[in-house]
C-alpha cells in the first residue's frame, strides 16, 4: 500500500504546489503595504503637478464593469456595443518630447497611435488602414509645469474641492511592483453613485499609475485604469516612427481638417445641467439615445429599462448602470448623471414631472 503514496501522493503534492503558486503569486506581489514618508493630499497633488516628464513603457489595463450583472444581457450584441465594457490592454511607450506610442492589443488585431515631432499616425491592422495627421508648425503644446507654481495650483484645487469632496491620502499600495501613494476622493454630498475615486501615484517620480472609480452599487471598481507593468526607462526610438506598409490605404489629415472634424462635436446648444458637483445631472433633448439604442438593437436597451412612477403620477423609464443612471421622461427628454435614481427623480420633480 505504501506504493500508493508515491504513485499519487507526490503528483498530488505537485499539483497543490502548482495551484498554490498560480493563485498566490499575483495576490502576494500587490498585497504588501510599502512604507513611505507621510504626505498630505495637497502636497501629493503638488508633487504630481510639478513632476518632471518621465520616459517609460508600460502595459495599461482598462477594465469597465459599468453594466454590472446586465453585461451578460448585452454580450450577444458583440463589438458594436457603444458602452465600454470588459477589459482592454494598452501598451504605452512614452519617449522624450512629443514621442508617444499607444498600442491597443486585441486578440487578433491591433490599433496603434504613433506620435513624433513630424506628426502622428493612426494604424488599424484590421483592413490595414493608416491615417496620417500632419503636425502644424505653429501650435506647440505647453507643459503644465512651465511658469505655474504647482504648490499654489494644488492648494487652489484642494480649496475648490474640499466643500464637496473629502480628499485624503489613503494607505500605500504597490502598483505594478512600484510603491505608490493613494489619493482618495470621497463625495461629501449624498446621492452620488460614485462612492470613491482612488488615484495611485508612484512614490519616486509622482507619475499616476492608476485610477479606480468605485460605485455605491458594488465593491469591485466600476472603472479601473492601471499599469500592470511599467518600466521607467527611455523606450527604443523605433517605437515612435511609422512608415505605412506597401498596400495600406493611407488617409492624410491636416491640422485644419482635424479642427473641422471636431467642430460638430461641440453642439451649439449647451445641455442643461441640474445640481452641482457630485450631484450634477445633464438634461439631454429628446432622441439623444437613438444612436446608442440603434447600435445596441432596440431590444437590448429596453431590457435595461425599468418603469418608474414620478411625483406627478407620470411614468418614466430608468436605465440603470453601475455608474450612470438615466431617466427617460414622458416627454422624451433624458436626465443622466452619476447619481442614484432618487436624485434623478427629485430633479424630474423640480422640472414639473
Amino acid at each position: 500500500m505504501a506504493r500508493w503514496k508515491y504513485r499519487f501522493g507526490i503528483p498530488l503534492v505537485g499539483a497543490a504546489v502548482a495551484l498554490g503558486a498560480a493563485s498566490l503569486t499575483p495576490a502576494l506581489t500587490n498585497a504588501q503595504t510599502p512604507l513611505l514618508g507621510p504626505m498630505s493630499a495637497s502636497q501629493l497633488i503638488a508633487a504630481v503637478m510639478g513632476a518632471a516628464p518621465v520616459q517609460y513603457s508600460g502595459q495599461l489595463q482598462i477594465t469597465s464593469n459599468i453594466l454590472g450583472s446586465d453585461a451578460s444581457l448585452l454580450s450577444s450584441v458583440g463589438q458594436s456595443v457603444a458602452l465600454p465594457e470588459g477589459t482592454s490592454q494598452l501598451m504605452v511607450y512614452r519617449g522624450a518630447g512629443p514621442n508617444l506610442r499607444l498600442q491597443e492589443v486585441n486578440a487578433q488585431s491591433e490599433r496603434d497611435l504613433y506620435v513624433n515631432s513630424a506628426g502622428a499616425w493612426l494604424w488599424d491592422s484590421a483592413g490595414s488602414k493608416a491615417s496620417h495627421f500632419v503636425a502644424s508648425s505653429t501650435t506647440q503644446s505647453k507643459t503644465l509645469s512651465q511658469g505655474v507654481n504647482p504648490t499654489v495650483m494644488a492648494d487652489n484645487l484642494v480649496t475648490q474641492l474640499s466643500p464637496t469632496s473629502q480628499l485624503t491620502v489613503g494607505s500605500n499600495v504597490y502598483v505594478a511592483g512600484h510603491a505608490a501613494y493613494t489619493l482618495s476622493l470621497v463625495p461629501r454630498q449624498t446621492g452620488s453613485s460614485i462612492s470613491s475615486v482612488r488615484i495611485s501615484v508612484d512614490a519616486k517620480n509622482y507619475h499616476v499609475l492608476g485610477v479606480s472609480v468605485y460605485s455605491v452599487y458594488s465593491s469591485t471598481p466600476v472603472l479601473q485604469m492601471g499599469y500592470q507593468s511599467i518600466t521607467f526607462a527611455s523606450p527604443s526610438s523605433s517605437n515612435f516612427s511609422f512608415t505605412p506598409p506597401v498596400g495600406a490605404s493611407v488617409n492624410t489629415v491636416t491640422a485644419s481638417q482635424l479642427k473641422s472634424m471636431f467642430q460638430p462635436m461641440t453642439s451649439p446648444t449647451k445641455p442643461v445641467t441640474l445640481g452641482t458637483s457630485w450631484q450634477a445631472v445633464v438634461e439631454l433633448p429628446k432622441g439623444s439615445l437613438t444612436k446608442v439604442s440603434s447600435s445596441l438593437g432596440s431590444k437590448a436597451l429596453s431590457d435595461l429599462e425599468t418603469p418608474v412612477t414620478l411625483a406627478n403620477g407620470g411614468t418614466a423609464s430608468l436605465i440603470h448602470t453601475e455608474l450612470v443612471n438615466m431617466l427617460v421622461l414622458p416627454n422624451g427628454s433624458i436626465l443622466a448623471g452619476a447619481v442614484r435614481s432618487s436624485v434623478l427623480e427629485s430633479d424630474a420633480g423640480a422640472l414639473g414631472f
Binding site: Y6, P11, A18, S23, Q103, A107, P245, V246
Partner: protein, 267 residues
C-alpha cells in the same frame, strides 16, 4: 534508449501517416485560398486568415492557428496515449523490463520522444506551409500587426518561432496523455482522456462566468503565438503560456514517472 525510442516513434507507419495527413492541411489551405478565394470578406475565421493571400508567411500561421485548437492536440494525444499503453498491450514492455533497463530511463525516453514528436508536428506545419506559401503567394516584406514592415527572411524566422511556441503550447496535452498511458494498457483510452482534457479546457475557457479559473486552464494562452507578429514582440502572453505548460507538465510528469516506476506491470 532515447535514440531508439525516437526512431521507434518516427518509424511507426501510423505516426508517419498522421504526420503526412497533417502536412496536407497547409497545402490544401493554400490551394483553396489561392484558387477559390472570392475576396472582399474580411474578418472572421482564425487569426491571419484574411492575410494569407498577401504574403507567403501567413499561410503557415493561419494553418497553425486553425489546427492548434483540435488537430494538433489530437495528434499529440495519439502518440502520447500510445507511448506506454501501446507497449503494454503488445507485450514489448515486458521485454524491456526483462532486459533490466531501469524503469525511470524507459519513461523518460518515452516522454522525450513524445515531446519531440509534438514539436515536430508544428514545425512541419510551418515548413510545409512556408514552402506552399512561397509557391502560391507573393514573398516580399511582411507587415506585422503593428503596421511595421520587416524583411521576408525575418518573417520566416518569426513563423518558425511561432511554430515552436505552438508546439510547446501542446506539451501539456502530450504529458497528460503519457501520464494516463502509464495507468492502462489501452492506448485508445489514454488518447481519449488526453483529448477530453484539452477540449474540456477549451470549453471552460469559453464560459465567461468562469473567468476566475481561466489562468489555470492549459489552453488559456494557446493563441499567444500571435503576439510574435507585433512590433516589438509582445512577450508577456508567450511567457505566461510557457509557464502554464510547465506547470501542467510538472504535475503530470510526476504522475507519469512515479506511477510507472511503482506500478505492477501485469501485461
Amino acid at each position: 534508449m532515447f535514440v531508439e525510442e525516437l526512431k521507434r516513434v518516427f518509424r511507426r507507419p501510423r505516426n508517419l501517416i498522421i504526420l503526412g495527413l497533417i502536412a496536407l492541411v497547409p497545402i490544401l489551405l493554400g490551394v483553396v485560398v489561392r484558387f477559390a478565394s472570392h475576396g472582399g470578406s474580411h474578418g472572421g475565421g482564425p487569426a491571419f486568415f484574411a492575410e494569407i493571400t498577401q504574403n507567403a508567411v501567413f499561410l503557415p500561421l493561419a494553418a497553425l492557428a486553425s489546427m492548434e485548437t483540435l488537430i494538433l492536440p489530437l495528434a499529440a494525444s495519439i502518440i502520447a496515449g500510445d507511448s506506454v499503453a501501446g507497449d503494454a498491450a503488445n507485450g514489448s514492455l515486458r521485454y524491456l523490463l526483462v532486459r533490466r533497463v531501469p524503469r525511470a530511463r524507459i519513461i523518460h525516453a518515452k516522454i522525450v520522444a513524445a515531446l519531440v514528436y509534438t514539436l515536430a508536428l508544428s514545425l512541419m506545419i510551418a515548413v510545409i506551409g512556408l514552402v506552399a506559401g512561397a509557391i502560391l503567394f507573393p514573398h516580399h516584406q511582411v507587415v506585422t500587426l503593428s503596421g511595421v514592415s520587416i524583411s521576408f527572411l525575418h518573417g520566416v524566422g518569426e513563423a518558425l518561432l511561432a511554430a515552436v511556441v505552438v508546439g510547446a503550447s501542446i506539451f501539456s496535452v502530450t504529458m497528460v496523455g503519457i501520464a494516463v498511458s502509464t495507468f492502462t494498457s489501452s492506448s485508445l483510452a489514454a488518447t481519449s482522456i488526453a483529448v477530453t482534457v484539452a477540449i474540456a479546457s477549451e470549453v471552460l475557457d469559453a464560459i465567461p462566468q468562469l473567468e476566475k479559473i481561466r489562468p489555470i486552464l492549459l489552453s488559456n494562452y494557446w493563441s499567444s503565438f500571435i503576439n510574435i507578429f507585433r512590433s516589438p514582440i509582445l512577450a508577456g502572453p508567450i511567457y505566461k503560456d510557457l509557464l502554464e505548460q510547465l506547470g501542467w507538465m510538472a504535475v503530470f510528469y510526476l504522475l507519469a514517472v512515479f506511477n510507472f516506476s511503482q506500478r505492477d506491470i501485469t501485461s
